[in-house]
Amino acid sequence: MKIAVCVKQISDPSEPQAIDPTTMRLTRGSKAILDDSDAYGVEIALRLAEAGGGGEVVLISMAPNQEVQGVRTGLAMGAASAVVVSDPLLAGADALTTAKVLASVVQRIGADFVIAATESTDGYTGTVPAQIAALLGWPALTFAKQIELRGSTLSIQRQTEDGYDVVEADLPAVVSVTAGVVEPRYPSFKGIMSAKSKPVEQLSVGDLGLSISIDEQVISVTDAQARAAGQIVEDDGTAEVEIMNYLTQIKVL
C-alpha cells in the first residue's frame, strides 16, 4: 500500500507576517517549515504503514523554488521519499490549482490513499482535501479525529458540530485529519541523518502536463478595526465586586 501525505511547507508562523503591497502575495520568510498541521498526517501515515506491515509513505508538496526544508522534517520522521512540485507558473496559486497539482502527483506515483490536514496554517481554506478527492473521483473522509484501516476499508471518527460520526469508505480514498489526533514523533538523530539521502523528486507543471490559470485576485489589504482596551483592574481580593457591577450594568445580571 502506498500512502501519499500532503505536506505544505510554510513560512514560520512565529515570524511576523506581511502581504507584499505590489504582488499582494504573502511575503515568505527565509525559512520554510513543515506546516504543524501536516505533522499529524505524517504521523498517522507512518503508523498505518507500520501496522499494515510494509506500507510506503510518500510526501507530496507544492512549493516555490524547489523548497525541501519542510519536506526533510517529514522524511526525518520516517517517510520513504518525497515529490516536490515547483514552477514560476504556480506563483499565487489558489486552492483548486494546488489540488490539481497534488492530485496529478498522486496519480503519477500510484498512491491508493491520500492523507492531508483539514486546513493549512497559512491559507486555511480547508478545501484542498475535498478538491483532491473530487479530482481523483475518490471518496473524501474529512475532519477525521481518528483513523482505522481494516483491510481495504477506512473507518474514521469525523468531527461534527456536536460530537462525531463514524464514517467509512473503501480505498482508494482521501482523508483529512484534525490537529491533536496523535502525538507526532520527533525526528531522531538517525532519522535526520538518513533524511538527507532519501529521494526527493522535483517536478514542474510541464512534467505533470497541467495547464494553469489563476482567476483570483487580491484588490486591497487594510487594517482591521481595532478594539480599544477598557478598564484594567488589579485583583486585590475583591475583583468579583467589579465584575458583578459590570454584569449588572450590561444587564447580564
Binding site: T125, Q131, T142, G163, I219
Partner: protein
C-alpha cells in the same frame, strides 16, 4: 445586482442551521434571485422560514441516506447550475459540510473558491469578498474573474435579517444522479457529546477557559459560572488540544466564531487566532494573571489576577445575587 445566488443551507434538528439565514441575508443584497439548496430536512417545513428571508426558489435534494452529503449535494448543484442558467454566485457556510460541498463543486465546475469570507458585496456586477488574515489583524479584499464565484462565508459574519416582505418560493425536487455512488462515504453511527445550556454560537453569554485554569479539573468552574449566567462554555485551542474539553468547545479561527452580548475569557492569553473568533462580542471581560496578556488589550473589563482564586469568589457572588 447579480442575477442568481445559490445558497447551501444545512440541516440542524428538524429545521435549518442559523447560518442558512445569514447566507440568505447576504444573498438578497447581491442578487435579485436567491435559490436555497435544502437537504436532510423536509423542504416544505422549512419553506416558510426561508421565504421570510427572501429566498425565491428552493431546490430540495431530500434525504442523504446515511452518506456524507457533499458528493450528492455538489453533484445536484452542478446539474442545477448548468441547466438553470444565470447563476453567478454560490454561497456556503465555512463549516464541515460547507467546505466539503464547495471543494467538490469547484472541481465539478472547474471554478476557484474564496473561503473564510466575512463580507461579500456586489460592485458593478463584480463581487468583492473580504476576509481577515493574520488572526484578524488585516482585511484582505479579493475578487474572482471566473464566471461563477464560489464563496464560503464564516458563520456569524452578518446578522440574519428577515426581508421586508416574504417571498413565495417554489419548491423543486431534485434527485441525485446515479454516478455519485462511487464517491460516497457511509455514516455508520453518530455520537453526540452531551452539553448543558445554549449552543456555543447562539448563546448570549459565553464563558471560556484556557490553559490558565491550570488543570482539566478546574474547567468545572467555567461550567458552573456559565450555568449560573445561562451561558455556554467555550475554550481556547490549547485546552482542546490538551484533551480537557471536546473540539466543539473551541472558539477562534479554527473553531467557532461567537458574537455574544458577553464573552468572559478566563486564563486565555488572547492569541490572534483565538481573538478572531470572539472580538465581535459586545462586551468582553478577561481574567488573566499576566498584565501584559494580549486579551487585556481588547477587554472592556480586564482583571489582572489569579483565576483559580477569583473564580470561586465570583461564582459565590453570582450565586448570592441570583438567589436573592
Amino acid at each position: 445586482m447579480l442575477n442568481n445566488c445559490v445558497i447551501v443551507t444545512e440541516p440542524q434538528g428538524e429545521g435549518l442551521a442559523p447560518v442558512s439565514f445569514e447566507l440568505a441575508t447576504i444573498a438578497r443584497t447581491i442578487a435579485s434571485k436567491v435559490t436555497a439548496v435544502v437537504f436532510g430536512v423536509d423542504a416544505s417545513s422549512v419553506a416558510a422560514s426561508l421565504a421570510n428571508y427572501g429566498v425565491t426558489e428552493i431546490v430540495s435534494l431530500g434525504d442523504t441516506d446515511g452518506h456524507l452529503p457533499a458528493v450528492m449535494v455538489a453533484d445536484a448543484m452542478r446539474d442545477h447550475i448548468q441547466s438553470a442558467q444565470g447563476t453567478d454566485v454560490v454561497l456556503v457556510a465555512q463549516s464541515y459540510t460547507g467546505r466539503d460541498v464547495l471543494g467538490r463543486l469547484s472541481v465539478l465546475l472547474d471554478a476557484p473558491v474564496l473561503t473564510n469570507a466575512v463580507g461579500v458585496r456586489e460592485a458593478d456586477g463584480s463581487l468583492e469578498v473580504e476576509n481577515l488574515v493574520f488572526g484578524g489583524e488585516k482585511v484582505v479584499t479579493s475578487t474572482i474573474s471566473a464566471p461563477i464565484r464560489l464563496i464560503a462565508v464564516r458563520p456569524k459574519s452578518v446578522a440574519a435579517e428577515p426581508a421586508v416582505a416574504a417571498s413565495e418560493p417554489q419548491v423543486q425536487q431534485v434527485s441525485p444522479s446515479a454516478d455519485v455512488k462511487a464517491n460516497r462515504a457511509v455514516i455508520v453511527s453518530s455520537h453526540v457529546e452531551e452539553r448543558q445550556g445554549p449552543k456555543l454560537d447562539e448563546a448570549e453569554v459565553v464563558v471560556s477557559g484556557g490553559r490558565g485554569l491550570g488543570s482539566a479539573e478546574n474547567y468545572r468552574f467555567i461550567e458552573e459560572l456559565a450555568g449560573l449566567l445561562h451561558g455556554a462554555t467555550g475554550a481556547s485551542r490549547a485546552i482542546v488540544d490538551a484533551g480537557w474539553v471536546p473540539y466543539a468547545y473551541q472558539v477562534g479561527q479554527t473553531g467557532k466564531t461567537v458574537k455574544p452580548n458577553l464573552y468572559l475569557a478566563v486564563g486565555i492569553s488572547g492569541a490572534t487566532q483565538h481573538m478572531v473568533g470572539m472580538k465581535g462580542a459586545k462586551n468582553i471581560i478577561a481574567i488573566n494573571k499576566d498584565k501584559d496578556a494580549p486579551i487585556l488589550q481588547i477587554a472592556d473589563l480586564g482583571i489582572v489576577g489569579d483565576a483559580q482564586k477569583l473564580l470561586p469568589r465570583l461564582i459565590e457572588a453570582v450565586r448570592q445575587k441570583a438567589g436573592a
